[in-house]
Amino acid sequence: MTEAIPNPGAATIDPQDDKTPVVEFNDVSIAFELKPVLKNISFSVERGQTLILLGPAGCGKSVLLKLANGLLAPDSGSIRIFGHEITTMPERDLFKLRAQIGMVFQESALFDSLDVEDNVAYRLHEERVPEDQAHARVVEALKFVELAQAIDKFPSELSGGMRRRVSIARAIISNPDLILYDSPTGGLDPITSTTIIELVMKQRDVSHTTSLVVTHRLQDAFVLATHRYDPEHGMKPIPKDGPDQGIDPGTKFLMLNEHHVVFHGTTEELVHSRDPWIREYLD
């Protein structure tokens, strides 16, 4: 965090305070045209943690991410991001807060009329970063997603997987403290999905960025929970005989069903859950 967000309602939070949850939902509900989408949602995400959001299609996972970024306002409840209450925060202050949040959209949401470089550098251009510095950072971000060769292409010239990687580069360019991934592998083939999950994992394990990952693909979720990124060898399973017993301790799960949270806990708790709906979903 670089700048304090003026919000008289919020307590003063030390940006380096590791104990303050990065994301905190308290009794949040939202409905669209009187149809409830989320009801009484409460959870928190600690610094450095990865929270995987699971649930059937249409259960409100994407809405939850948009609430976390202030793109939607809840009907009731409280949402605190980096300790700041965002439900009552004016849009102008939300724009400043979002400088610390990266978001990868379901369909990438790249700007059609801008090339890859301008898409990735969008935030830097808004912040009036000098052109040579912006270019260097774009190249660095594109190298991270292994797409440096596509710097001068337009989104219409890219495949679905490449668009998703550009979207990830755009989200990480400003080194955000929180990244929200909305179905980063949705609609992609299994091989491309693995590449995208590896990038999510790389960001988690290299930069230790707090993240919320929406997915409806269980295999992606479990790969994230049981693998770690190694700079030399890429994605590798966490040894079962090691201290973490094959599971990444910083990766947790939140399951939604019929507008409510039905599970919030660790990977181990999830796989050993006796809840019949969860068992059916996992099987």
Binding site: L71, F95, K96, A99, F105, F111, D112, Y122
Partner: protein
């Protein structure tokens, strides 16, 4: 399609008016505060102003031609065919120039704005813009509003000029009038109030075109079909609003200038 109850229908309409008013207020406020997107303003001025020039020139010119021919038919019966220049210039400057320019630009640009912003809305580009810390009203609406108001003013002057020129061509070649007499009569027929009236209308029309086009775009839902619907709505609403506001401005100007 399910029928809505009158209560729900009314609530939706009132909400739409409220959202439109908020958008207009935010766009005006964005014009007077930083940051301003000058590059976008210049791009929009080129697209709206320079891009609309051919249709405005053609519309103005041929309207002037038709006006001269039609009015000459009526004026001949009173032996006042020499008044054609005055009638054409008055009609073009006070009414036809501003309204036709407004309607043509509405058809071209309100539709363009609604479809462009609507496409961005349905592909989540507007949300992405907000997520990247940019206010879409400031980035997309304010430049279009400024560019439309600025350029429509000059497009109207061009349409008026070409309308009078078209009338001159018909008067000289078909009606056998003297070119100097026509132009002198056209000039003499106009007073200060006519010019003010003719140049006040495009400011209102431009405001309607830009804000309605952008509003319809930003409220687009329902994928590509929704984009088509938003585009149609933008043209219909802005065209009707231009004609209604034209009446109100005309009445106000008559009240102020007396003619």
């Amino acid at each position: 399609m399910a029928l809505k109850s009158p209560e729900v229908f009314l609530k939706q309409k009132i909400l739409a008016v409220q959202e439109y008013s908020t958008l207009c207020a935010s766009a005006i406020s964005a014009l007077f505060t930083r940051p301003r997107y000058w590059a976008d303003i210049i791009t929009q001025m080129d697209s709206i102003g320079v891009g609309s020039l051919p249709i405005i020139v053609l519309t103005g010119f041929f309207t002037g031609c038709v006006l001269a021919l039609q009015s000459a038919t009526a004026l001949t019966s009173f032996g006042a065919v020499s008044m054609t220049g005055s009638l054409v210039s008055l009609s073009m400057v006070k009414e036809l120039g501003p309204v036709l320019t407004g309607l043509m630009v509405s058809g071209r640009n309100a539709a363009g704005m609604a479809s462009e912003i609507g496409s961005m809305k349905v592909t989540e580009q507007l949300d992405a813009m907000r997520a990247l810390g940019t206010d879409p009203v400031r980035k997309l609406v304010a430049p279009r509003l400024f560019a439309t108001v600025f350029m429509l003013f000059f497009l109207t002057i061009i349409a008026d000029a070409f309308g009078i020129a078209g009338g001159a061509l018909m008067s000289v070649t078909i009606l056998g009038l003297n070119a100097s007499t026509y132009l002198h009569d056209s000039y003499r027929g106009l007073v200060h109030g006519d010019i003010v009236q003719g140049l006040t209308k495009p400011v209102f029309s431009a405001f309607i075109i830009a804000t309605v086009g952008c509003y319809c775009g930003m409220k687009t839902t329902g994928g590509t079909q929704g984009v088509g619907r938003a585009t149609t709505q933008a043209v219909v609403i802005s065209s009707v609003a231009i004609i209604i506001v034209d009446l109100l401005v005309t009445r106000a100007m008559i009240g102020i200038f007396g003619s």
